[in-house]
Subunit: 368 residues, 2 copies
């Protein structure tokens, strides 16, 4: 298990006085949960920031003490892995607005002594990136060798290159988009409405003991369906009967989704789900000429990957980013990988993706 | 409005002693809500049965007295329309298990004097077709000139040709499948779980005044997303702000879905939603060799249509039916229509589909 692993790691919390949000509101104090793997070199030129997707957290690689559950990108981060911790100093943060240690709705509001809940200010993808920048600067890192992420993490990576063109050398955007389509918004919207329909929702001012778990579970089930592909679901579940002790469904895919919903609510907060999905849905660099203009100041080199079976973030959305980068004469390598695991393809062991990331970083390194 | 229309129509109720279900259970009495358009000829050889989809009803064409809302296939049924009521006697029934007049969970259980609710017996697509056959026979119709339907209606049409090969001359299957994939099941399953999560669900024994409307609304929203295409949603809603007085959403697609959910619960029953989606999910003629075997006794000529933008019932599922029919040397005309309106393409004004249905029936008629 620990072969090629970064081993036992822990999530740390970095504290800052405050962060001014795009809206003008202030988060104070600002806390950022993060992990790091590998060693920052003396010149501080080997830092890679990896950005998580909707339900991810700072725990991207290795294992927490006493747990056998590895970080969400353990396949990709470690000695000899694509994000090679023998070479790179890899940082992973939890997004603000989330519920995994960074400031968000579950944080204590110093003015009331209670958790913010729905009184936490609205945060955007831009705000998430601005928070990450504070952490990066606290390490004395002037320029990121690379910023990388899939899905919402890809939006953050892209935003880094737009907001701070001189601070990012290389950018990896996986299974992502320059903005959500109406269809992408709609799946998040139905999830939010499921939470709002839960009688425990109470306008977001629920107590710990009385959370809108049923609504959040439904939201997670909807999300889960969109992360998988038709083909993968056919192989994995087909039309088989339910598994385990789960009642109230006639099908294996039902028992899987019910289990996913039920286990999610123990590790995620309903307010955070609403905050983070709203950040996702509101992020917009536009398309076509608007996108081209928004990417005109970008300086990083890009690796962009999409997946044939990803119907939630269809390849055409990656192609739109590629085209706008090319119009701006930015170096961009693009690949649509033929892979059957749907949107989740970027998260799982995916040899072709590993190969592409490895070589993109190798090449970038030799270029130095 | 009444040009080429069948005009003012009414839904009638046909009563029968009983129907024995596949499960062995008995529905007694059996009521079937139906409408008919056009005139049955003397030889009773011009009858066409049209079958509705999940949330449809017997009201397929024309207008009810005092209403300006036309039937669900008004574009297709009427004088000079593809199902030409100058030539054909068109019958439309509400499926059993539904809540639009045919026997279902909202029917009164004669043993208790109360509505069945979740005590109504499980019904299958096969049972729905057996109920339709009773009605058809009550008209003295020996053989249907055609049976036609889209989505769940297509499954019923297909089932007619399998169960009663000598009773159907022509069969039209639109945007349908020989069985649901795990992905198709999953969307229905999340809808069912949303209903079951509603505190008003009460194991299906809810009172009229206390229905699980919020859960049913969420189920409908999920369904609605799957009926539309990425392209259509982009054109119709894009990333625009919400419309009308609908709060709790930041997007036009959100206000649309909330409206669709809210208006649905006033015209549909949560138990029926569960019964009908289960019938859909359990229906299985198999695929490949199993499907070929199940279709080996079929005698009808077929028109099968799929739509390029229908990701809920992808064209490959129609192709599977076509292939199995061809292996059995059944006459089948197949067309994948390039049309942007997603799964709903078969319901809306679709010139190419109209043309294909018109010519298929013309040709079949000349063949007589």
């Amino acid at each position: 298990m620990l072969e090629n692993s970064v081993g036992v790691v822990e999530t740390k919390i970095a504290k800052f006085d405050s962060l001014e949000l795009e809206s003008g509101e202030i988060i104070s104090p600002l806390e950022i949960a993060y992990e790091s793997y590998g060693v920052l070199n003396e010149k501080r030129t080997n830092a890679i920031l990896v950005c998580h997707a909707l339900s991810g957290d700072a725990h991207a690689a290795g294992f927490h003490e006493g747990s056998d559950k590895s970080g969400w990108w353990n396949e990709y981060i470690g000695p000899g892995k694509p994000f090679d911790t023998n070479k790179y100093f890899v940082i992973s943060t939890n997004v603000i607005g989330g519920c995994k240690g960074s400031s968000g709705p579950t944080s204590i509001n110093p003015k009331t002594g209670k958790s913010y809940g729905s009184h936490f200010p609205y945060v955007s993808i831009e705000d998430m990136v601005n928070a990450q920048k504070k952490l990066i600067e606290s390490f004395g890192i002037e320029i990121l060798f690379c910023v990388a992420g899939g899905s919402m993490g890809g939006m953050q990576a892209l935003q880094w290159t737009v907001a701070f063109p001189d601070k990012v050398k290389n950018c990896i955007v996986l299974a992502s988009s320059s903005e959500h389509s109406a269809q992408q918004i709609s799946f998040n919207e139905v999830g939010r409405q499921a939470i709002l329909s839960d009688p425990n929702w109470n306008n977001g001012e629920y107590e710990d003991a009385n959370q809108p778990k049923k609504g959040l579970a439904i939201a997670r089930m909807i999300g889960h369906v969109t992360y998988l592909s038709d083909e993968l679901m056919r192989e994995k579940f087909g039309r088989k009967p339910p598994r385990g002790n789960i009642k109230n469904t006639d099908f294996a895919v039902g028992s899987y989704l019910i289990y996913q919903g039920e286990s999610f609510v123990d590790r995620f907060d309903a307010n955070s789900y609403i905050y983070v999905t709203k950040a996702l849905d509101h992020y917009s660099l536009g398309r076509g000429e608007v996108l081209t203009k928004n990417l005109s100041q970008v300086k990083a080199d890009f690796l962009i990957i999409s997946f044939s079976s990803d119907w939630l973030y269809p390849p055409y959305q990656s192609v739109e980013i590629v085209k706008s980068l090319e119009v701006n004469a930015i170096n961009v390598t693009y690949c649509e990988i033929n892979f059957s695991k749907g949107h989740d393809s970027f998260l799982v062991d995916n040899p072709e993706q590993k190969h592409l990331i490895h070589h993109f970083l190798e090449f970038a390194n030799e270029d130095e």
